[in-house]
Amino acid sequence: MLAYTVRRLFSSVVLLFIGTAVVFGLTSISSNPELLLATCPPTRCGAEFRSEMIQMYQLDKTIPERYVSWLGDAVQGDLGTAVRDGRRPVTEVLGERLPKTLLLAIPAFVLTALIAVALGVYSAVRQYSVGDNALTAFSFIGISMPTFFFGLLLQVFWGVWWQEWTGTRPFYVTGYHNADFMDLVSSLTLPVATLMLVSVAGESRFGRASMLEVINSEYIRTARAKGLPERKVIFHHALRNALIPLVTIWALDFALLLSGSVITETVFAWPGIGSYFLRSITNYDLDPVMAIMVFTAAITIMFNLIADVMYGVLDPRVRYD
């Protein structure tokens, strides 16, 4: 198990290097500052600005050369400069924004997982009941509607309609507020709820499918034939097996949340990594874009590794050697 983990760690690092090369190449091609400069009228982009850009983005060098120099800096912890953020180091800006993304990601992840498992178990045990059918309908809406729809809906509901009806506004509809704990909770509620709506819909489907498969398996019949109460059959014998395939889903969902929810953070003006990513793209601020993509890749690779190791812990049949 340890040997396996170490081996996987090594291959993860290799994978990450390949990932950075691909991402760097694509970023350099797709938002080429050279082309931007070429189309920029000299009145706006003077000679001085041009030479500064050329020096900053090393436009006189080839992309592979630039990548090597970027990598050299990156491994030393220098991810470049956030030009549109007071020319501060990217790592500093990300350091400020990451905790705010975590504030959204962790509660959203934990609550989603708990609710999705509960709904999945309920749906599987009461397959085709009114409740199960209602949840199926809800899931399909949740999966097929875009995130921003729910975000805007919640904002309109709590920020406009609710206020019209009651004259109060129980939650912040945008922004990050932390005057005190309740203030923080209030500003977290709607973005977390938005993140959850979509992932609960998806995860509970997986939970239901996984649970259904387990419930119809023969060892569940064996458990019943022993005389076990149904509660134990479901929550001890069945759930333990049904959770195993969910580990991968959880790892990917959490990685996605950690690397910042671009849409949700933007809709709620949440100062996390996701909204920063979108802002950097629209601003052609290349270093932060590159840094966030690499961060996302690293997180995804890491959580895949964690999922695989968890598999070995949860499922005795999985042997790593």
Binding site: S217, E218, Y219, R221, T222, A223, R224, A225, K226, G227, L228, P229, E230, H237, R240, N241, I244, L314, D315, P316, R317
Partner: protein, 333 residues
């Protein structure tokens, strides 16, 4: 005469589905005496498994069960779950066909046996683990102290079935239901596992319902035999009745001893020409009629009852018991 341990009367099971109802068991009646081994044979789909699951109350919700199954003075059909749970695993234990899938893969063999023990006994965990080890030893698992802590996937198929047997024996049940306990196993270990089942039955003194396709097993283990076809008992009798005084064409077919079929007697059930009936649409009259070499006009009318042969416990569902007996006598066996 002693009272039967299990008395099944007029048991019927119908599965509801979108394609229409399927009656898998049609008015089954049979008794199991204390300590007796009743073998149940019949082609695939004849309702053997469904019958035993119905008795245990383990059928899915889509099944409608009617009739009666009196076990030790208690009615099982329609009993509430709480009552059934006290009987399941304690008074009636089951051994399933496929030991690969019948054990929970994420728990150790020991913990699954211990669970069965502590559920029905007031016993400390430590004592229960000792008992589990002892049971594994009893069913012939070498080095049980170590193996009790292993997971199902670390056992071979034969060992898993031994572990299932150990689990079934754990509470010294009055009745063991074994549903094709050796079918999924390697031929070379079938005999050993059967030996273990025989031993388990002897040690606990339990009665046993043994569902099997293997006539060698029937001959070696059973006191009595039920031959099932299309969800009903077609012939019932002791070993000699079934093997040497066969009184039903279907049984003859299974034994492979109908002269015109030129089959020889083998250990396995012989395939009978023609397909098993469609349970959604049984033929008029006797369900076996379309495949029966003895069929006459009378077989088209109504289905024959299970009738006594020579007045004893030997019974057969056929209008032509005499003709079958003649053919039997004339055959090579």
């Amino acid at each position: 005469m002693t009272a039967p341990l299990l008395s099944v009367k007029d048991l019927s099971v119908t599965f509801r589905s979108d394609d229409g109802d399927l009656t898998a068991v049609r008015g089954m009646s049979f008794d199991v005496m204390p300590g007796e081994v009743l073998a149940v044979v019949g082609e695939s789909g004849s309702g053997k498994s469904v019958t035993s699951l119905a008795i245990m109350g383990l059928l899915p919700r889509s099944a409608r069960v009617s009739g009666s199954a009196m076990f030790d003075g208690r009615e099982l059909i329609g009993a509430d779950l709480k009552q059934l749970r006290k009987i399941r695993g304690k008074d009636i234990a089951m051994i399933f066909q496929d030991p690969m899938t019948a054990l929970n893969p994420v728990f150790t063999i020991g913990s699954q046996i211990v669970e069965a023990i502590t559920l029905h006994n007031d016993m400390s965990d430590k004592a229960a683990w000792e008992r589990a080890t002892e049971l594994l030893n009893l069913v012939g698992i070498p080095d049980p102290k170590r193996r009790v802590k292993l997971y199902p996937h670390e056992y071979s198929g034969g060992m898993r079935q031994r572990a299932m047997i150990a689990m079934a024996m754990a509470n010294e049940p009055k009745l063991l239901i074994a549903d094709e306990p050796t079918t999924a196993l390697d031929v070379t270990i079938q005999a050993q596992v059967l030996q273990v089942i025989r031993k388990a039955q002897a040690v606990t003194g339990a009665a046993m319902v043994l569902i099997t396709h293997d006539l060698g097993v029937v001959a070696g283990l059973a006191d009595r035999v039920n031959v099932m076809y299309a969800g009903a008992v077609f012939e019932s009798g002791d070993i000699d009745d079934i093997f040497y005084r066969t009184a039903n064409p279907y049984t003859l077919g299974l034994l492979g001893s109908i002269p015109i079929l030129t089959a020889r007697v083998s250990d396995k059930l012989t395939p009978i020409p023609g397909a098993p009936p469609n349970l959604r649409r049984l033929p008029e009259g006797c369900p076996f009629r379309p495949r029966c070499v003895f069929a006459t006009e009378v077989c088209h009318g109504s289905e024959p009852d299970l009738m006594a042969v020579n007045g004893g416990r030997h019974r057969s569902r056929c209008y032509h018991i005499d003709k079958v007996a003649e053919a039997r006598a004339g055959s090579t066996v």
